[in-house]
Each structure stands twice: as structure tokens, then as C-alpha cells.
Symmetry: C2
DNA sequence: TACAAACTACACAGACCTGTGTAGTTTGTG
DNA sequence: CACAAACTACACAGGTCTGTGTAGTTTGTA
């Protein structure tokens, strides 16, 4: 048996343990096609891993979905961290966040915010994926608040809340009309808000 | 046959033709539980109408979904129209839009923006429902632009675009964390934007 | 009363879904 | 080499989904 165990190609992919490959496949499929639209058979097949392994590693689809979002959250936060660290001027750091979102949502494969999409697809607010989604937004907001504080703004929390709203609005609108323009609008409003507080 | 054709209760509901009852059931179910999560059997059963009628009237689920959104679009636009008409002061009309959204998203049965949710659930941007969703947002924006123009703002289109962004951000955020607070944030930013242009 | 349109119940096709049970195979490590 | 952990293939249960085919019934109207 084991009909595909000979080729050298398999040796390369085989090195990555099953869970890793499953998460990669799930990430791509869930984001592009939707969570409900993709079955566990499709995920495991794409990962080149048996469905049994998926269930042994993740327990079920719900947890796989939550893991997919957890990983996406981690990566986005790390990316944002890197981007803002590379900018010296404190106020520019905040604008760099808008730059990061801007690059993301003009991409070919942009399909809206994965966390918002998950919330839209999953009505149950106690679903593990919903909780990850909520945490993600809180995380971004905290990052914004830290940057706002670093830039010396009064009431950095308030500014962060407002900037987050702009990012959310731009992301949702960009997803709706498949355009990068909403982010320019958001950025210009952000600039106006910041300037109004520059004293 | 016709096991439930005797009671007077049926006579009352029977009066409404099938398509109407189907749309009502679809509206409620699709919004609350999600489009993919609800099957045509469930819709027709809830409507008290045979599945065959659903297919004879709408051709298929896709068109039923599009109709569901078309009707929601119509009703929301009419509601917004009514709300803003009842306000005399031109500038207050714009704020009344925020008031309307505010009342909506603090409701018990709020489950996010039906159009954004549909876009999240349906990856195909050419799906009839996606086109309805896009048109809906354009319609709201046009309404905002008309109000902004009526209030005498320079560049009413630009202001409308910005206000729409705020509404979208507030709706998305409210759906994520199940709270009405984001709309207050959006409203206060809107006010700030308008005051900055009051000259 | 005749007739057409709208509706009904119901069975079915064919596909998909999540999840489990099982027996056997590969693989890394002591 | 021995052994445990991780993996495999595969069949299956029990459900769901969209959509169709059909024969018969109700209902409003001419």
C-alpha cells in the first residue's frame, strides 16, 4: 500500500509534520473560499495528509478553524510589529499601520478580513473562532494605543479606537467593492484626526 | 391529502402568496443563521410552502438570496429616507443617519450587516447577491452625499465617502464585539469632521 | 361549470458533509 | 532490533445539501 511513498518530491513535503501542512492548507482554503464552503476532506487532501490525522491532531473542524485564525492573528501582529518598529518617527509609526493595511488589501488574493468573515459565517458568538477573532481586534487596538501613546497624544485609547474604526471601515469597504481606494480615505481621515490633536 | 388545510389559522396565513412568505422566512433565517447554514428545505418549511413552489418562483437558492438582499436594501433605504425627512435642520439630517444605524445595531437580533455578511459568505464577486450588496452601499453613499450637499458642505462626495467609512467600521466592530459603543465613536468622529468643515 | 394557474405531497438523484472505526504501515529513537 | 508514536488507506454511519420529476389538489376567474 502507501501508493505515493516513493518519489523524492514526497520526501521534501513529508518533512513538515502533518499538523503544519494541514494548517497551511486550511489557511489558504478557508480564507479564499470560506469556512463553511470547505470540507475537511478537501483540507486533508490538499495537505497531502489523511483525514484521520486531521481529527487526531485537531479534534474536529471547529478547532482547526480556530487554529487557522490564531495563526493568522499571530502573523499579522508580528508583521505589524515589524513594520512599525522599522519606522523611527513616532507619529509616522501610526501611519505605517495604514500603510500595512493598504498593501494587504490591494493584493490579488484579498478577500476581506478573515476575522470579520469568520464572524459573519459563524453566528454562535461563543464559537472558539469567534473568540480568536475578537481578541485579534483587541490586539490591533492595543498596538494602536501603544503607538498613539508613544507619539505623545492625549487620550491615546480614544485615538486608537477611532483609528481602528477607520481601518475596519476601509477593510470592509475594500472587500465589498474590490478596491484599494477606501484605505486612502481612511488614511486621510486619520491624518486629519491626528493633526487636530497635534495642538 | 393536504393535511393542514382545515384550521382557520391556515386561512389567515394562506392569504399571503407563497413568494411573499418565502421571502419573509428567508430574510429571517439567512440573516440570523447565515446563508450557507440555511437550506431551502428549512426556508420552505418555515414559510409553510412547498419546496417546489420555492423553485418555481425563484429558480434556485441563489436568486432567493439575491431577492432577500434586494428587499432588505429597499427597506433600509426607505427607512433612512423617512428618518432623514423627518429632520428639519440639514446638518442634523446627517447625524440622524448615525442615529438610525445606532438604533439598529443595539437591537437584540443584530447580526452585523447583511450585505457584508453575504459578501463574506459568497466568494464569487459576480454572484447576484454580491451585486445587490455592492449597490446597497452605493445607495447609502449617494444618500449621504445628497444630505451633505443639502447641508452646504464643500465636496459633499468626499464627506459622504468618509461618513460611509465610519458607518461601515462601526457596524463591523459592533458585530465583532456585540456592543453599540462603536457607533458612538463613529458619530463623534463624524461630528468632528463636519465641524472642521463648518468653516 | 370549465379551465388555467398556482400550489401540494412525496420520492428521488447525486453530491456533499462531519466524524469514527479499524487494521496495517512508516518513522524516529532508545 | 525493538517499540511507540504518528501516520496511512478505506469503509462506513448518518446526516445534510440543491435540485427535479410527477401526479394530484386547490383557487380564482371567465
Amino acid at each position: 500500500m502507501m501508493e505515493q511513498r516513493a518519489g523524492g518530491e514526497k520526501l521534501a513535503t513529508r518533512r513538515r509534520p502533518g499538523a503544519e501542512r494541514l494548517l497551511e492548507a486550511a489557511s489558504d482554503l478557508f480564507y479564499r473560499e470560506g469556512i463553511r464552503a470547505v470540507g475537511v476532506d478537501t483540507v486533508s487532501e490538499r495537505a497531502g495528509v489523511s483525514k484521520r490525522t486531521l481529527y487526531n491532531r485537531f479534534g474536529g473542524k471547529d478547532e482547526l478553524v480556530a487554529e487557522y485564525l490564531r495563526r493568522r492573528d499571530e502573523r499579522w501582529r508580528a508583521y505589524l510589529q515589524g513594520v512599525t518598529e522599522r519606522v523611527a518617527e513616532p507619529r509616522e509609526k501610526l501611519l505605517a499601520v495604514f500603510g500595512a493595511y493598504g498593501e494587504w488589501l490591494v493584493g490579488e488574493d484579498f478577500r476581506g478580513c478573515a476575522f470579520a468573515n469568520a464572524a459573519a459565517e459563524i453566528p454562535d458568538p461563543n464559537h472558539p473562532a469567534r473568540i480568536v477573532a475578537q481578541r485579534h481586534k483587541e490586539g490591533v487596538k492595543k498596538h494602536l494605543a501603544a503607538l498613539a501613546k508613544g507619539a505623545g497624544f492625549d487620550e491615546p485609547e480614544t485615538l486608537a479606537e477611532r483609528l481602528l474604526l477607520l481601518l475596519e471601515g476601509a477593510t470592509a469597504t475594500a472587500a465589498m467593492r474590490r478596491s484599494g481606494e477606501p484605505l486612502d480615505v481612511a488614511r486621510s481621515v486619520a491624518l486629519e484626526l491626528m493633526e487636530a490633536r497635534s495642538h
